[in-house]
Amino acid sequence: MSIEIKNISYTYMPKTAFEHQALKNVSFTLNEGEVTAIAGHTGSGKSTIVQHLNGLLHPTDGQVLVDGTDLASKGDEAVKARQLVGLVFQYPEHQLFEETVAKDVGFGPKNLGVSEEETEKRVREALEFVDLDYDVFKDVSPFQLSGGQKRRVAIAGVLALKPKYLVLDEPTAGLDPRGREELLSRVCELHKKKKVTLIFVSHKMEDVARIADRLIVMNHGELVIDAPPRKAFLEEAAIKEAGLDIPVTVRLLTELKEKGFSVDTDAFTIDETAKRIARAIKERGRR
């Protein structure tokens, strides 16, 4: 079971003066159970790809198959397939509209025709998952919450749909470091505990390195790298070309290696990097 992207191309505003090809013959498969990061410069086509994953956009050319069903086909199967993919947009807090938090989170399940009790259960679960106490927040207006809380409510709104694949478009944009940390660890937990397949867009390479099994780099609508982050970071030139940066830790270790220290360059946390440097220095001392 997987999401297959087969040779898709997408053109915005075809046949006008503003015609713009956002995707050029992109193919990849997102396997169940993986955590995939999609990275790229502004305008590289990453958000366009994301909108293809649950059928909001249909490719001008090519196919998107979710568990084998073409999303562009008509009929109930395609509708069902689309519901397997939950999509959290950039700045999802801008989509809140209900009077209370509980109603807003329950909006999705209600649309899918889930029963009242089941909806309440899902809302409770989703809110607990994003670390908001159901009994405290259920009757609060979403517009009274802080920015971080609003975002968590909005994400809960998508979680309540119980998607099999969860797609997050720059989930940490505009959050402070602590908020980012919390959100990422929540999302990781979702992957580990609930076996949700994760796809997230980010240009924070530190985040990518920490949680992704796989990194897809886009540049000018084309797929340039598709590899595990550790491997992808070796292709520094291609990553720079795509307007991105490799993590600071990798850069530091690479430079040390060039200076003749024997270190592996694939450390992504400060602690691990420090340990490796310490080891390398010791080793050099012994020699």
Partner: protein, 267 residues
């Protein structure tokens, strides 16, 4: 989707018409429109038609795109022609039941339709070759003499340019919110009227909230940069009447003068 809408009909380019001062374009358009109505000799129509075609070619706007601008008024043109054909006495061309369609009527109707079509094409040429912002700038400048009788020219133009500036932003925002709600299972395309109307609530509420937020932020940003109305403001892109504008102006004057002579002399 929604984002496929183009605002206005501006067609970017660098032609002679694109480079002209928008104020001059508006003023000359006005003169031409008056001219089209005043000079009703067949030769004058020939001249105007030829001139319009020439301008269209100079503008480099695809002729097909330009031709489409007449679409909304197509029915009116046909209707005018038919009314004139059966309302004017003269040599009968053909009959449909009691209506008699005459040759004289056809000629008269054709002339009127041609006039209307020329009007539409000329004003479309203006909007095709002038960006909305240039238009508002020109409007401000042209309205500024009326300031002394209390017309807030600058404020009107500022409001218009802000409104224009935010149309694409709000369309984009609407598109995004629609997609977000669609991802949460809203279906905008099916159901009865009430159901469809109620599915607008999840779009309108966030849209209004964001519009107010943007208005608030914009006002704050403008004040932070010491905006306090039009008095004494200079602008980055000063409108300038250049040689090419004087050239266009001179051509128009010569053309109109020639037509006046033709009309008076009865050629």
């Amino acid at each position: 989707m929604l984002t496929d809408i183009t605002l206005g009909q501006y067609f970017p380019g660098t032609s002679f018409l694109h480079r002209m001062d928008p104020r001059m374009k508006i003023s000359l358009l006005f003169v031409w429109i008056v001219g089209i109505f005043v000079f009703d000799m067949p030769k004058a129509y020939g001249v105007f038609t030829a001139a319009t075609v020439l301008l269209a070619i100079i503008s480099r706007v695809p002729l097909l795109t330009l031709a489409k601008s007449i679409k909304p008024l197509w029915m009116i043109l046909v209707f005018t022609l038919l009314i004139h054909m059966c309302g004017t006495p003269g040599e009968a061309l053909f009959h449909i039941s009691v209506f008699e369609f005459t040759k004289e009527g056809f000629m008269q109707g054709f002339v009127i339709c041609l006039r209307l079509a020329l009007l539409i094409f000329l004003s479309s040429l203006l909007t095709f070759t002038t960006s909305p912002l240039e238009l508002t700038d020109a409007m401000e400048s042209l309205l500024s003499p009326l300031k002394c009788i209390g017309v807030p020219a600058h404020e009107l133009a500022m409001m218009m340019s802000i409104a224009l500036r935010f149309v694409p932003t709000l369309i984009e925002e609407t598109d995004k919110i629609m997609k977000a709600q669609q991802s949460r299972g809203v279906n905008f395309e099916s159901g009865n009227v009430i159901k469809r109307l109620s599915s607008l609530v999840p779009i309108l509420v966030p849209l209004f909230i964001s519009a107010f937020r943007r208005a608030d932020e914009l006002a704050m940003a403008m004040e932070a940069r010491c905006y306090r109305g039009g008095e004494g403001r200079t602008r980055m892109k000063e409108l300038k009447v250049r040689a090419l504008d004087y050239g266009a102006c001179a051509c128009t004057v010569v053309l109109m003068a020639a037509l006046v002579v033709m009309k008076v002399e009865g050629i």
